[in-house]
């Protein structure tokens, strides 16, 4: 049981890293990774929203959609629930925890239409995880996102100060740097299963 959870966690952090090997959540990855503190803030907000979204969508999927045979409504229901939830959390944070809102709140609305959050909830259902496994998998995906953001913020600050051809300035050089970081994560493929068996 415990071993399964560790494998799920490590797999979603390293092997199936959402940004670098599944290409989910590329927009915030490229947009908000210029500075380290922004990257950390965005990463933490993503972990928070992923856990919250899984917490809410798991019971909806199992006690509403599956029970009444409404599986085809999954996409509509999930996106609406996530969007409403993020708005609600933002209002609550603003009212009761202004400190946390100042550090995380700005990133919350950006995450509403983030494909990584919707992707993690749908993937959890497709993989047939139970509740605890789903939560661990969401935590892993969020941590993987944070890890990728933090690593990439470091790589990116070096690119800004180097001489590169004009047509590669800006986004193209960023993408090629992402390719190199992604190569590093590519090396993890196949490690996790053998590490614990």
């Amino acid at each position: 049981m415990f071993k399964t959870l560790i494998v799920i966690l490590m797999t979603s952090v390293l092997v199936n890293n959402y940004v670098l090997s599944k290409f989910l959540g590329i927009c915030p990855f490229l947009g908000v990774s210029k500075k380290l503190n922004q990257a950390v803030g965005m990463g933490l907000a993503v972990i928070f929203v992923m856990l919250l979204a899984t917490l809410v969508t798991y019971p909806i999927q199992h006690f509403l959609l599956d029970k009444f045979n409404l599986g085809y409504l999954q996409t509509i229901v999930f996106i609406l629930v996530i969007a409403a939830l993020v708005q609600l959390v933002e209002i609550i944070l603003k009212r009761y925890l202004p400190g946390l809102h100042r550090s995380l709140g700005v990133y919350l609305p950006l995450i509403t239409t983030n494909c990584a959050v919707l992707g993690v909830t749908i993937n959890n259902v497709n993989d047939g995880y139970n509740f605890i496994e789903s939560m661990v998998s969401s935590l892993g995906c969020g941590l993987g996102f944070l890890l990728a953001m933090v690593l990439f913020a470091g790589v990116r600050s070096r690119i800004e100060n180097s001489h590169i051809p004009n047509s590669f300035k800006g986004l193209p050089s960023t993408l090629i740097a992402a390719a190199i970081v992604s190569c590093a994560f590519f090396g993890f493929a196949g490690i996790v299963e053998h590490l614990f068996s």
Partner: protein, 232 residues
């Protein structure tokens, strides 16, 4: 409106305002679905159908939807059409359905569709919105197709599943993997920059304000805070 202007609305999505290579929208499906030509075309055409239908419906309803709840309404409309495409593909083309996987459902959060709804369909007539939807959708398909061609031909030595004999011994298989996706995409944007002498990318500042969601996600607050943080 005359015919020439209509044609320019249709054609601007192909090159001048190509959603992927110039506006840098919808990067996630572009990177994920360009490993083979067939999946790229399937993704592009599914997104085109959703974009066309949602643009038409949103344009028809643009005077009815109150502006405070417009984003949730757009999301419901888009999600409805995505579900339809999902069910149709599941019923008639199960192979493609399996190939696209979770990315088919993720068309809902594709920046291109919400972005066009917000920037174009909510302000323009039905026919123009329909043409804009088709143009942008085909521009997206074209970019995906070009990228998939490069990645499949050089990475896998085949084109749309048909093997190319002389390339079989010289495969660069990393191109079909994740790092190759980032690399080819970066090179293609650099090529577009080179051809347009950097004019294309300057239109679109790549940051929070470059995101199509920025206009409805407390834009000022968001931008100000990000700027403040940058200043510190």
């Amino acid at each position: 409106m005359n015919k020439e202007k209509r044609l320019s609305i249709l054609l601007k999505g192909f090159i001048k305002e190509n959603p992927v290579l110039v506006l840098i929208l919808g990067t996630c499906p572009t990177l994920a679905m360009s490993t083979s030509v067939i999946s790229a075309l399937a993704m592009g055409l599914s997104a085109t159908i959703v974009l066309f239908c949602s643009n038409v419906v949103i344009s028809l309803l643009r005077n009815i939807i109150p502006s405070q709840v417009r984003i949730p309404s757009y999301i419901v409309i888009i999600a409805g059409f995505v579900t339809m495409v999902q069910m149709l593909l599941h019923a008639y083309l199960p192979n493609l359905y399996a190939m696209l996987g979770v990315y088919l459902a993720l068309i809902v959060v594709n920046c291109i569709i919400l972005g066009r709804a917000e920037m174009y369909a909510s302000k323009n007539g039905v026919i123009n919105s329909a043409l804009d939807g088709i143009g942008m959708g085909l521009g997206f398909t074209l970019a995906l197709f070009l990228m998939a061609t490069i990645r499949e031909v050089f990475g896998n030595g085949s084109f749309a599943g048909i093997e190319i004999g002389f390339l079989q011994n010289y495969k660069i298989s990393i191109l079909t993997q994740a790092p190759g996706g980032f690399f080819v995409f970066g090179c293609m944007i650099a090529l577009v920059n080179k051809i347009t002498h950097g004019k294309a990318i300057k239109k679109k500042e790549f940051s929070c304000s470059g995101c199509p969601s920025a206009s409805f996600c407390h834009k000022d607050e968001c931008n100000n805070t990000l700027e403040e943080k940058e200043a510190n």
